[in-house]
Symmetry: D2
Subunit: 191 residues, 4 copies
Amino acid sequence: MDRKINVAVIVGSLRKESVSRKAALALAKLAPEHLDLHIVEIGDLALYNEDVEAAGAPNSWMRFREEVRASDAVLFVTPEYNRSVPGALKNAIDVGSRPYGNSAFSGKPAAIMSLSPGALGAFGANHHLRQSLVFLDMPILQQPEAYVGGAFSLFDERGELTSEGTQAFFQQFIDAFASWIEATSKVDALA
Amino acid sequence: MDRKINVAVIVGSLRKESVSRKAALALAKLAPEHLDLHIVEIGDLALYNEDVEAAGAPNSWMRFREEVRASDAVLFVTPEYNRSVPGALKNAIDVGSRPYGNSAFSGKPAAIMSLSPGALGAFGANHHLRQSLVFLDMPILQQPEAYVGGAFSLFDERGELTSEGTQAFFQQFIDAFASWIEATSKVDALA
Amino acid sequence: MDRKINVAVIVGSLRKESVSRKAALALAKLAPEHLDLHIVEIGDLALYNEDVEAAGAPNSWMRFREEVRASDAVLFVTPEYNRSVPGALKNAIDVGSRPYGNSAFSGKPAAIMSLSPGALGAFGANHHLRQSLVFLDMPILQQPEAYVGGAFSLFDERGELTSEGTQAFFQQFIDAFASWIEATSKVDALA
Amino acid sequence: MDRKINVAVIVGSLRKESVSRKAALALAKLAPEHLDLHIVEIGDLALYNEDVEAAGAPNSWMRFREEVRASDAVLFVTPEYNRSVPGALKNAIDVGSRPYGNSAFSGKPAAIMSLSPGALGAFGANHHLRQSLVFLDMPILQQPEAYVGGAFSLFDERGELTSEGTQAFFQQFIDAFASWIEATSKVDALA
């Protein structure tokens, strides 16, 4: 490909020191050169409300939708809250998907990395998010699945991955996503 | 029982004319006399962020947690957004469940009615919410399942149910919930 | 209670040396005295087929339905196959739930322990099974959730739990189920 | 493309007069000429059991695995049993996915049509199946989602679709799958 692939990265936690954010930044560093990963912020998005839309969408919604729309693909990096997608992330999905018939996400290839301090790797959040992506018509990377456990010991103080095994897995994951984007970006052309 | 059972009703849509809100009000009217259903608002809750919690929880969070904590049971009435729980509702769950070890929802019996304009009755939102309730330790009513389709024609202009069949189903649902609350409220006493 | 509580235990793996079976037997030993856990076998059940039902249900189906029907509660102990419930276990559920209107499972309190060799503890199987239990109208124990990882090192050669921590968790789980059965067995009486 | 695309169709019901089977046949007729849809039978598959595998896989398992392996893509057409995938279909997935490291499904593009007599269109089965396909590494068609309700009145006595609207939807679905197969079959080549 001749040009850079623009990947919107949506981080499911709003904490400054969020491990999901650190994982997103680590993936951005490891990504193939033709992939440009950048975080699209969601912390300022008002809760979705159709009445508010009718009265005029807030700037934060417009900004978010434009950033997603300008991207070629979307990477979600998220923790799990209460066995599902964090409310802040689900709200961003709701905001970006509206108004009806004009979703910013439509057709964009996607991948998910989910992380938890414990062993389960946010499996519940990962698969709930996948169910939303069906409706959003986002071709989703299947393998490698990325359920990352023990998240609080993944990074050192500078935000670098502490284990070579984890780094190799992150590399495999982002490379697979790059291939997935390339393949599925041809779907529309063929259709 | 001698005293009123206090049921917090959480509505998943923020629209003023939301069908979910109308359904909640209809259920409140049909409920057995010893059940007191009242809506706990979620539209003013800031997005959950652990940094904000550490700096001091906003009043809106404290108010929501107290109202849930003061209830004996929780009824969720919700639409589906993008095949899952609306972000605003998921955020309310996240806010009410924190800080860790001090969830406002813990142990309270719950029921879910989900509604959609189309045929599917928000099945996806209904079951994603159930997965969260496992973590929240809320004994959940299984039957009758309430996937209510064709939601935009359920109510007349005064907010009254237009069909006797629907009204009978709503009655059956809220009566079953009343029995469920009575039975499961003994779990802790027995434990 | 004056009489024994009869708990049907359904094991999701057909392997002789299945870790799920060992976990089921360990739970049977740890159960409070008034709980009688016994495994109801599912390996001989022909695949559910409504045509076969119409021609006359096989003996294996009749035997299974009777054993479930004779129980007061049902405990599922299962691995995960392909991120969901093993086919053999799902088939047993289908067989036991039919014919329509005459499900053997109806109303019986249930609990799930899921196990995997890896870290994820068969979370996917656990929650898919929960979705079926909603339809089957089985009041389901919410906490403690039992996602048991590292399953291949749980038992010694005699089938005894090797770790005190695991044994304490198994004890907590089966005790919580005992309380759950006692509480929810009153639902019908109250209704 | 120069050659025919070979699509294995797996039908989730074993009934002779199954509506899912009729839908599969209708889709086969409507498919673009370069797509060759044929049903791979699952009714004779013994329940998956690793001990049986170790002793020598039955002929039925070998036959099923070979037929899936010989295909370019897989189409699932299924009802819902107990809010999930029918046991017979889940068993077929388990059989085809083993032995470990040698899954017959790996990498093959997939699509799902789910059907129910009622309104819900087997949503629960559809999405549980999707969760398995993640593990099986099968790129899955996202849109159009195919939750087909009112299934018992879809076909006339000769098995022809009775409604033009349904026929148009079936056409759209199978055409989208054809495009999806073409696009995603390049993933490996690119990787």
